[in-house]
Symmetry: C2
Subunit: 216 residues, 2 copies
Amino acid sequence: MLHKTPRTTPSRYANQRAHYDQEQIYAILDEALFCTVSYAEDNQPFSIPQSYIRVGDHIYLHGSVGSHFVRILSEGHPACISVMLADEIVVAKTAFHHSINYRSVVIFAKGEIVEDQELKYQAFKALTEKMVPDSWDYLKPMSKKEMDKTTAVRFALTEASAKMRQGAPGHEESEMDLPIWTGVISIKPIRQAPVPDEHGKKVPLPKHLLKSAKGS
Amino acid sequence: MLHKTPRTTPSRYANQRAHYDQEQIYAILDEALFCTVSYAEDNQPFSIPQSYIRVGDHIYLHGSVGSHFVRILSEGHPACISVMLADEIVVAKTAFHHSINYRSVVIFAKGEIVEDQELKYQAFKALTEKMVPDSWDYLKPMSKKEMDKTTAVRFALTEASAKMRQGAPGHEESEMDLPIWTGVISIKPIRQAPVPDEHGKKVPLPKHLLKSAKGS
Protein backbone atom coordinates (compact mmCIF):
# COMPACT_ATOMS: atom_id res chain seq x y z
CA MET A 1 0.00 0.00 0.00
CA LEU A 2 1.49 3.36 -1.00
CA HIS A 3 1.36 6.31 1.35
CA LYS A 4 -1.44 8.74 0.48
CA THR A 5 -0.28 12.35 0.05
CA PRO A 6 -2.18 15.59 -0.58
CA ARG A 7 -1.01 15.42 -4.20
CA THR A 8 -2.44 11.95 -4.70
CA THR A 9 -5.80 12.69 -3.06
CA PRO A 10 -8.43 13.71 -5.61
CA SER A 11 -10.83 16.51 -4.68
CA ARG A 12 -13.88 14.44 -5.64
CA TYR A 13 -14.87 10.77 -5.20
CA ALA A 14 -11.67 10.32 -3.12
CA ASN A 15 -13.18 7.38 -1.26
CA GLN A 16 -14.94 5.62 -4.13
CA ARG A 17 -12.42 6.10 -6.92
CA ALA A 18 -8.91 6.58 -5.51
CA HIS A 19 -6.69 3.61 -4.73
CA TYR A 20 -3.23 3.33 -3.21
CA ASP A 21 -2.85 -0.43 -3.45
CA GLN A 22 0.47 -1.24 -5.12
CA GLU A 23 -0.90 -4.30 -6.87
CA GLN A 24 -3.72 -2.32 -8.48
CA ILE A 25 -1.39 0.51 -9.51
CA TYR A 26 1.18 -1.88 -11.01
CA ALA A 27 -1.49 -3.84 -12.87
CA ILE A 28 -2.62 -0.66 -14.64
CA LEU A 29 0.97 0.38 -15.37
CA ASP A 30 1.72 -3.05 -16.83
CA GLU A 31 -1.35 -3.08 -19.07
CA ALA A 32 -1.07 0.43 -20.53
CA LEU A 33 1.53 1.01 -23.25
CA PHE A 34 1.72 4.79 -23.07
CA CYS A 35 1.93 7.49 -20.47
CA THR A 36 1.96 11.27 -20.58
CA VAL A 37 4.99 12.84 -18.92
CA SER A 38 4.80 16.44 -17.75
CA TYR A 39 7.29 18.86 -16.32
CA ALA A 40 7.15 22.63 -15.87
CA GLU A 41 9.41 25.60 -16.43
CA ASP A 42 8.25 28.91 -14.89
CA ASN A 43 4.92 27.22 -14.15
CA GLN A 44 4.41 26.50 -17.83
CA PRO A 45 3.69 22.78 -18.12
CA PHE A 46 5.00 20.69 -21.02
CA SER A 47 3.50 17.27 -21.71
CA ILE A 48 4.71 14.50 -23.97
CA PRO A 49 3.13 11.12 -24.65
CA GLN A 50 5.71 8.36 -24.23
CA SER A 51 6.00 4.62 -24.13
CA TYR A 52 7.33 3.32 -20.82
CA ILE A 53 8.01 0.19 -18.87
CA ARG A 54 7.66 -0.66 -15.21
CA VAL A 55 10.51 -2.76 -13.81
CA GLY A 56 10.28 -3.40 -10.09
CA ASP A 57 9.39 -0.20 -8.28
CA HIS A 58 10.38 2.17 -11.09
CA ILE A 59 9.00 3.45 -14.37
CA TYR A 60 11.59 3.65 -17.16
CA LEU A 61 11.41 6.03 -20.12
CA HIS A 62 13.72 5.89 -23.10
CA GLY A 63 14.78 8.74 -25.30
CA SER A 64 17.41 9.77 -27.75
CA VAL A 65 20.59 11.09 -26.14
CA GLY A 66 20.03 14.42 -27.94
CA SER A 67 16.45 14.95 -26.80
CA HIS A 68 15.69 18.15 -24.87
CA PHE A 69 12.85 16.42 -23.09
CA VAL A 70 15.01 13.58 -21.82
CA ARG A 71 17.68 16.01 -20.67
CA ILE A 72 15.17 18.09 -18.71
CA LEU A 73 13.68 15.00 -17.08
CA SER A 74 17.08 13.58 -16.20
CA GLU A 75 18.00 16.83 -14.47
CA GLY A 76 15.52 15.96 -11.76
CA HIS A 77 12.74 18.49 -12.41
CA PRO A 78 9.55 17.46 -10.62
CA ALA A 79 7.56 15.37 -13.06
CA CYS A 80 4.02 14.09 -13.20
CA ILE A 81 3.42 10.89 -15.15
CA SER A 82 -0.13 9.89 -15.95
CA VAL A 83 -1.53 6.76 -17.53
CA MET A 84 -5.09 6.05 -18.59
CA LEU A 85 -6.80 2.92 -19.82
CA ALA A 86 -10.13 3.94 -21.32
CA ASP A 87 -12.26 0.82 -21.04
CA GLU A 88 -15.85 1.68 -21.79
CA ILE A 89 -18.20 4.49 -22.70
CA VAL A 90 -20.95 4.54 -20.10
CA VAL A 91 -24.29 5.29 -21.76
CA ALA A 92 -26.97 6.74 -19.48
CA LYS A 93 -30.51 8.04 -19.93
CA THR A 94 -29.25 11.61 -19.74
CA ALA A 95 -26.16 13.22 -21.29
CA PHE A 96 -25.35 14.41 -17.77
CA HIS A 97 -24.97 10.86 -16.44
CA HIS A 98 -22.86 9.65 -19.34
CA SER A 99 -19.42 8.68 -18.15
CA ILE A 100 -16.27 6.72 -18.93
CA ASN A 101 -15.15 3.52 -17.29
CA TYR A 102 -11.42 3.95 -16.97
CA ARG A 103 -8.41 2.98 -14.90
CA SER A 104 -5.77 5.64 -14.44
CA VAL A 105 -2.58 6.16 -12.50
CA VAL A 106 -0.83 9.38 -11.60
CA ILE A 107 2.79 9.38 -10.40
CA PHE A 108 4.78 12.23 -8.87
CA ALA A 109 8.53 11.70 -9.06
CA LYS A 110 11.86 13.10 -10.17
CA GLY A 111 13.81 11.42 -12.94
CA GLU A 112 17.29 9.98 -12.66
CA ILE A 113 19.47 8.71 -15.51
CA VAL A 114 20.02 4.97 -15.47
CA GLU A 115 23.80 4.60 -15.47
CA ASP A 116 23.86 0.91 -14.55
CA GLN A 117 24.28 -0.88 -17.91
CA GLU A 118 22.63 -4.11 -16.78
CA LEU A 119 19.57 -2.26 -15.46
CA LYS A 120 19.41 -0.25 -18.68
CA TYR A 121 19.60 -3.44 -20.74
CA GLN A 122 16.88 -5.11 -18.68
CA ALA A 123 14.62 -2.08 -19.10
CA PHE A 124 15.10 -2.18 -22.91
CA LYS A 125 14.33 -5.87 -22.90
CA ALA A 126 11.23 -5.47 -20.73
CA LEU A 127 9.94 -2.60 -22.89
CA THR A 128 10.44 -4.59 -26.09
CA GLU A 129 8.71 -7.63 -24.60
CA LYS A 130 5.81 -5.46 -23.45
CA MET A 131 5.36 -4.02 -26.94
CA VAL A 132 5.82 -7.37 -28.69
CA PRO A 133 5.59 -10.26 -26.20
CA ASP A 134 8.22 -13.03 -26.49
CA SER A 135 10.13 -11.23 -29.24
CA TRP A 136 13.43 -10.35 -27.52
CA ASP A 137 15.32 -13.57 -28.27
CA TYR A 138 14.14 -13.51 -31.90
CA LEU A 139 15.50 -10.03 -32.65
CA LYS A 140 19.06 -9.09 -33.54
CA PRO A 141 20.75 -8.71 -30.13
CA MET A 142 21.05 -5.15 -28.87
CA SER A 143 24.51 -3.69 -29.40
CA LYS A 144 26.59 -1.52 -27.10
CA LYS A 145 26.37 1.23 -29.75
CA GLU A 146 22.56 1.13 -29.70
CA MET A 147 22.57 1.21 -25.90
CA ASP A 148 24.81 4.27 -25.96
CA LYS A 149 22.55 6.14 -28.37
CA THR A 150 19.66 5.97 -25.95
CA THR A 151 19.17 7.51 -22.53
CA ALA A 152 17.04 5.68 -20.00
CA VAL A 153 15.49 7.79 -17.25
CA ARG A 154 13.73 6.21 -14.31
CA PHE A 155 11.20 7.39 -11.73
CA ALA A 156 10.53 5.76 -8.38
CA LEU A 157 6.97 4.60 -7.76
CA THR A 158 6.73 5.94 -4.23
CA GLU A 159 4.09 8.66 -4.68
CA ALA A 160 1.39 7.29 -6.93
CA SER A 161 -2.32 6.59 -6.95
CA ALA A 162 -4.84 4.87 -9.12
CA LYS A 163 -8.28 6.14 -10.00
CA MET A 164 -10.97 4.12 -11.67
CA ARG A 165 -14.60 3.95 -12.54
CA GLN A 166 -16.29 0.70 -13.38
CA GLY A 167 -19.81 -0.61 -13.87
CA ALA A 168 -23.18 0.68 -14.96
CA PRO A 169 -24.25 4.32 -15.47
CA GLY A 170 -25.62 6.34 -12.59
CA HIS A 171 -29.21 7.51 -12.78
CA GLU A 172 -31.82 9.47 -10.87
CA GLU A 173 -34.59 7.39 -9.30
CA SER A 174 -37.14 9.52 -11.17
CA GLU A 175 -35.55 8.63 -14.52
CA MET A 176 -35.20 4.89 -13.97
CA ASP A 177 -38.29 3.92 -15.93
CA LEU A 178 -37.74 6.13 -18.96
CA PRO A 179 -37.63 3.91 -22.08
CA ILE A 180 -34.04 4.89 -22.90
CA TRP A 181 -31.29 2.29 -23.41
CA THR A 182 -28.47 2.23 -20.86
CA GLY A 183 -25.26 0.23 -20.68
CA VAL A 184 -21.63 0.29 -21.76
CA ILE A 185 -19.67 0.22 -25.02
CA SER A 186 -16.15 -1.22 -24.81
CA ILE A 187 -13.47 0.91 -26.46
CA LYS A 188 -10.36 -1.03 -25.34
CA PRO A 189 -7.68 -1.46 -27.99
CA ILE A 190 -7.33 -4.99 -29.32
CA ARG A 191 -4.22 -5.95 -31.31
CA GLN A 192 -4.91 -6.72 -34.94
CA ALA A 193 -3.11 -9.17 -37.21
CA PRO A 194 0.52 -8.16 -37.98
CA VAL A 195 1.02 -6.58 -41.43
CA PRO A 196 4.47 -7.08 -42.98
CA ASP A 197 6.41 -4.33 -44.74
CA GLU A 198 8.34 -5.07 -47.95
CA HIS A 199 11.17 -6.81 -46.05
CA GLY A 200 8.84 -8.63 -43.66
CA LYS A 201 7.05 -10.23 -46.62
CA LYS A 202 10.17 -12.27 -47.35
CA VAL A 203 10.27 -13.80 -43.87
CA PRO A 204 7.77 -16.21 -42.27
CA LEU A 205 5.70 -14.74 -39.43
CA PRO A 206 7.37 -15.95 -36.22
CA LYS A 207 5.38 -17.93 -33.65
CA HIS A 208 5.23 -15.11 -31.10
CA LEU A 209 3.52 -12.86 -33.66
CA LEU A 210 1.11 -15.61 -34.69
CA LYS A 211 -0.23 -15.44 -31.12
CA SER A 212 -0.60 -11.68 -31.43
CA ALA A 213 -2.51 -12.18 -34.71
CA LYS A 214 -5.21 -14.05 -32.80
CA GLY A 215 -5.86 -11.01 -30.60
CA SER A 216 -4.52 -10.35 -27.10
CA MET B 1 -1.78 26.99 -40.74
CA LEU B 2 -0.97 27.78 -37.10
CA HIS B 3 1.97 29.93 -36.16
CA LYS B 4 5.00 27.87 -35.08
CA THR B 5 6.41 28.91 -31.69
CA PRO B 6 9.46 27.73 -29.74
CA ARG B 7 7.14 25.75 -27.48
CA THR B 8 5.58 23.90 -30.39
CA THR B 9 8.90 23.08 -32.09
CA PRO B 10 10.18 19.63 -31.08
CA SER B 11 13.91 19.23 -30.48
CA ARG B 12 14.10 16.20 -32.77
CA TYR B 13 12.55 15.27 -36.15
CA ALA B 14 11.08 18.80 -36.26
CA ASN B 15 10.92 18.74 -40.05
CA GLN B 16 9.73 15.18 -40.57
CA ARG B 17 7.28 14.81 -37.71
CA ALA B 18 5.93 18.22 -36.64
CA HIS B 19 2.90 19.75 -38.35
CA TYR B 20 1.14 23.07 -37.95
CA ASP B 21 -1.63 22.52 -40.43
CA GLN B 22 -4.97 23.29 -38.79
CA GLU B 23 -6.81 20.59 -40.72
CA GLN B 24 -4.38 17.89 -39.57
CA ILE B 25 -4.47 19.10 -35.96
CA TYR B 26 -8.27 19.26 -35.89
CA ALA B 27 -8.61 15.80 -37.47
CA ILE B 28 -6.56 14.28 -34.65
CA LEU B 29 -8.47 16.24 -32.00
CA ASP B 30 -11.78 15.07 -33.48
CA GLU B 31 -10.76 11.41 -33.59
CA ALA B 32 -9.28 11.09 -30.10
CA LEU B 33 -11.69 10.85 -27.16
CA PHE B 34 -9.29 11.72 -24.35
CA CYS B 35 -6.60 14.25 -23.63
CA THR B 36 -4.22 14.82 -20.77
CA VAL B 37 -4.45 18.26 -19.21
CA SER B 38 -1.52 19.61 -17.23
CA TYR B 39 -0.95 22.70 -15.15
CA ALA B 40 1.76 23.57 -12.64
CA GLU B 41 2.01 25.11 -9.20
CA ASP B 42 5.52 26.05 -8.03
CA ASN B 43 6.86 24.17 -11.06
CA GLN B 44 5.21 20.97 -9.86
CA PRO B 45 3.14 19.68 -12.77
CA PHE B 46 -0.25 18.02 -12.27
CA SER B 47 -1.78 15.98 -15.07
CA ILE B 48 -5.28 14.61 -15.43
CA PRO B 49 -6.74 12.52 -18.25
CA GLN B 50 -10.00 14.05 -19.47
CA SER B 51 -12.57 13.67 -22.18
CA TYR B 52 -12.91 16.77 -24.32
CA ILE B 53 -14.57 18.16 -27.40
CA ARG B 54 -13.39 20.52 -30.10
CA VAL B 55 -15.99 23.04 -31.21
CA GLY B 56 -14.72 25.57 -33.73
CA ASP B 57 -11.33 26.87 -32.68
CA HIS B 58 -11.58 25.80 -29.04
CA ILE B 59 -11.22 22.67 -26.92
CA TYR B 60 -13.91 22.32 -24.23
CA LEU B 61 -13.47 20.40 -20.99
CA HIS B 62 -16.28 19.65 -18.57
CA GLY B 63 -16.03 19.17 -14.86
CA SER B 64 -18.06 19.24 -11.72
CA VAL B 65 -18.57 22.70 -10.27
CA GLY B 66 -16.79 21.58 -7.09
CA SER B 67 -13.69 20.17 -8.77
CA HIS B 68 -10.33 21.64 -7.71
CA PHE B 69 -8.90 20.83 -11.11
CA VAL B 70 -11.61 22.71 -13.00
CA ARG B 71 -11.25 25.69 -10.68
CA ILE B 72 -7.49 25.87 -11.20
CA LEU B 73 -7.88 25.61 -14.98
CA SER B 74 -10.61 28.23 -15.10
CA GLU B 75 -8.37 30.65 -13.19
CA GLY B 76 -6.23 30.92 -16.30
CA HIS B 77 -3.07 29.06 -15.23
CA PRO B 78 -0.97 28.16 -18.26
CA ALA B 79 -2.04 24.70 -19.35
CA CYS B 80 -0.67 22.10 -21.69
CA ILE B 81 -3.15 19.74 -23.29
CA SER B 82 -1.85 16.68 -25.09
CA VAL B 83 -3.65 14.08 -27.15
CA MET B 84 -2.25 10.87 -28.60
CA LEU B 85 -3.70 8.33 -30.99
CA ALA B 86 -1.53 5.22 -30.81
CA ASP B 87 -2.07 3.54 -34.16
CA GLU B 88 0.50 0.79 -34.60
CA ILE B 89 3.45 -0.95 -32.99
CA VAL B 90 6.30 -0.78 -35.47
CA VAL B 91 8.24 -4.05 -35.41
CA ALA B 92 11.86 -3.86 -36.63
CA LYS B 93 14.77 -6.27 -36.89
CA THR B 94 16.35 -4.73 -33.80
CA ALA B 95 14.77 -3.60 -30.53
CA PHE B 96 16.48 -0.27 -31.16
CA HIS B 97 14.49 0.40 -34.34
CA HIS B 98 11.15 -0.61 -32.85
CA SER B 99 8.80 2.34 -32.77
CA ILE B 100 5.20 3.48 -32.53
CA ASN B 101 3.09 4.90 -35.31
CA TYR B 102 1.12 7.62 -33.62
CA ARG B 103 -0.61 10.95 -34.19
CA SER B 104 -0.38 13.43 -31.37
CA VAL B 105 -1.28 17.05 -30.69
CA VAL B 106 0.04 19.37 -28.04
CA ILE B 107 -1.77 22.61 -27.17
CA PHE B 108 -0.57 25.49 -25.03
CA ALA B 109 -3.40 27.69 -23.77
CA LYS B 110 -5.08 29.25 -20.77
CA GLY B 111 -8.55 28.18 -19.75
CA GLU B 112 -11.62 30.39 -19.55
CA ILE B 113 -15.00 29.49 -18.09
CA VAL B 114 -17.77 29.25 -20.67
CA GLU B 115 -20.42 31.63 -19.39
CA ASP B 116 -22.48 31.75 -22.59
CA GLN B 117 -25.28 29.23 -21.98
CA GLU B 118 -25.85 28.48 -25.65
CA LEU B 119 -22.14 27.76 -26.23
CA LYS B 120 -22.07 25.59 -23.11
CA TYR B 121 -25.11 23.66 -24.31
CA GLN B 122 -23.60 23.16 -27.76
CA ALA B 123 -20.36 21.87 -26.22
CA PHE B 124 -22.30 19.34 -24.11
CA LYS B 125 -24.19 18.25 -27.17
CA ALA B 126 -21.06 17.90 -29.28
CA LEU B 127 -19.26 15.93 -26.56
CA THR B 128 -22.19 13.55 -26.15
CA GLU B 129 -22.44 13.05 -29.91
CA LYS B 130 -18.71 12.37 -30.10
CA MET B 131 -18.92 9.72 -27.37
CA VAL B 132 -22.12 8.17 -28.77
CA PRO B 133 -22.82 9.40 -32.31
CA ASP B 134 -26.41 10.40 -33.13
CA SER B 135 -27.59 9.91 -29.55
CA TRP B 136 -28.43 13.47 -28.45
CA ASP B 137 -32.04 13.59 -29.66
CA TYR B 138 -32.75 10.13 -28.20
CA LEU B 139 -31.66 11.04 -24.64
CA LYS B 140 -33.72 12.84 -22.01
CA PRO B 141 -33.14 16.53 -22.81
CA MET B 142 -30.50 18.26 -20.72
CA SER B 143 -32.01 20.34 -17.93
CA LYS B 144 -30.99 23.76 -16.65
CA LYS B 145 -30.15 22.11 -13.30
CA GLU B 146 -27.75 19.67 -14.98
CA MET B 147 -26.13 22.50 -16.92
CA ASP B 148 -25.63 24.44 -13.69
CA LYS B 149 -23.95 21.50 -11.95
CA THR B 150 -21.20 21.39 -14.56
CA THR B 151 -18.49 23.87 -15.41
CA ALA B 152 -17.26 24.07 -18.99
CA VAL B 153 -13.77 25.47 -19.51
CA ARG B 154 -12.45 26.25 -22.96
CA PHE B 155 -9.00 26.71 -24.47
CA ALA B 156 -8.23 28.51 -27.72
CA LEU B 157 -6.45 26.49 -30.39
CA THR B 158 -3.97 29.17 -31.34
CA GLU B 159 -0.71 27.59 -30.18
CA ALA B 160 -0.78 23.95 -31.13
CA SER B 161 1.12 21.42 -33.17
CA ALA B 162 0.72 17.87 -34.35
CA LYS B 163 3.38 15.20 -34.37
CA MET B 164 3.10 11.89 -36.09
CA ARG B 165 4.97 8.85 -37.26
CA GLN B 166 3.61 6.60 -39.95
CA GLY B 167 4.82 3.74 -42.10
CA ALA B 168 7.38 0.96 -41.95
CA PRO B 169 10.20 0.50 -39.42
CA GLY B 170 13.57 2.08 -39.99
CA HIS B 171 16.55 -0.19 -40.49
CA GLU B 172 20.27 -0.13 -41.12
CA GLU B 173 21.36 -1.09 -44.64
CA SER B 174 23.60 -3.76 -43.12
CA GLU B 175 20.61 -5.40 -41.37
CA MET B 176 18.21 -5.38 -44.29
CA ASP B 177 18.74 -8.99 -45.28
CA LEU B 178 18.55 -10.54 -41.80
CA PRO B 179 15.75 -13.15 -41.76
CA ILE B 180 13.75 -11.29 -39.12
CA TRP B 181 10.11 -10.31 -39.66
CA THR B 182 9.31 -6.59 -39.88
CA GLY B 183 6.03 -4.73 -40.14
CA VAL B 184 3.30 -3.17 -38.03
CA ILE B 185 0.65 -4.34 -35.56
CA SER B 186 -2.44 -2.14 -35.27
CA ILE B 187 -3.46 -1.26 -31.71
CA LYS B 188 -6.26 1.23 -32.47
CA PRO B 189 -9.35 0.95 -30.30
CA ILE B 190 -12.41 -0.41 -32.07
CA ARG B 191 -15.84 -0.04 -30.48
CA GLN B 192 -17.40 -3.32 -29.43
CA ALA B 193 -21.09 -4.24 -29.31
CA PRO B 194 -23.07 -2.31 -26.65
CA VAL B 195 -23.78 -4.29 -23.45
CA PRO B 196 -26.98 -3.29 -21.58
CA ASP B 197 -27.15 -2.89 -17.81
CA GLU B 198 -30.20 -4.15 -15.89
CA HIS B 199 -32.34 -1.19 -17.01
CA GLY B 200 -31.02 -1.23 -20.57
CA LYS B 201 -32.15 -4.85 -20.96
CA LYS B 202 -35.78 -3.73 -20.79
CA VAL B 203 -35.40 -1.31 -23.72
CA PRO B 204 -34.71 -2.13 -27.38
CA LEU B 205 -31.26 -1.13 -28.63
CA PRO B 206 -31.79 2.14 -30.53
CA LYS B 207 -30.75 2.45 -34.18
CA HIS B 208 -27.74 4.70 -33.50
CA LEU B 209 -26.27 2.05 -31.19
CA LEU B 210 -26.95 -0.72 -33.68
CA LYS B 211 -24.50 1.09 -35.96
CA SER B 212 -21.92 1.24 -33.18
CA ALA B 213 -22.42 -2.51 -32.59
CA LYS B 214 -21.12 -3.15 -36.09
CA GLY B 215 -17.84 -1.41 -35.28
CA SER B 216 -16.85 2.14 -36.11
